[in-house]
Point group: C2
Chain length 127, copies 2
């Protein structure tokens, strides 16, 4: 199962201040509500914006970008699988592996955060 994240830029003291207007904009643009994601307050969820995917604005002290998250029940195996078709390991953040794809986009492989029944129903499986 894949989850998409929007990231927004900020200096260390005002990442959250910058993320607020970005979340408000995407809420209005896509016609969905924006709500803080309580377990991790750097994220603001945009509920129902992309069908079965998770779309969120993340307050980060970095260059603004969109990146794609992929949930996996075996993070290390999936990160290794993606290095096969030429992704490059960048860093590890908490339990997530950050890779750079050909074309220079970032992709994060993270542990399952969806409800187990959602993950089981929607995940693609590899041999």
């Amino acid at each position: 199962m894949a989850a998409a994240s929007l990231c927004t830029r900020g200096q260390p003291v005002d990442a959250a201040r910058r993320a607020g207007p970005a979340a408000a904009f995407w809420s209005a643009a896509l016609g969905v509500r924006a709500e803080p994601y309580a377990p991790k307050l750097q994220f603001t969820s945009l509920h129902g914006a992309l069908g079965g995917l998770v779309l969120a604005v993340q307050a980060v002290d970095d260059t603004p970008r969109l990146h794609r998250d992929i949930e996996m029940d075996d993070v290390a195996a999936e990160a290794a699988r993606l290095v096969g078709p030429r992704a490059t390991p960048v860093t590890q953040w908490q339990e997530c592996r950050v890779l750079r794809a050909p074309g220079r986009h970032l992709v994060c492989v993270l542990p399952v955060e969806s409800a187990p029944e959602v993950f089981d129903a929607e995940a693609r499986t590899w041999p």
Copy 2:
């Protein structure tokens, strides 16, 4: 209805050469097939990668980025609506209006490209 596009970077002579490996990577990463989009060969479609959304790799001579496309039956009205919650007009490309959202992400408003019955079924409507 919203459509998502992946863009990849290239110099003028090799944008297409760079886009090929990016499309191959995302095809393998997401478990979907990649096919050239015949009406506009700068795009490679990744069929079924994001549920009801369109995901494509676009060969462009620019910084690599992800951007979001929003299909609209009235492009000018929607562009004006998004400037309300503080998007900034950037440029116009063919019939598309390119805006920069708070948080610095690009969003393109484009005419309807989906089949009419798909657009009618999935579009959100504004008063």
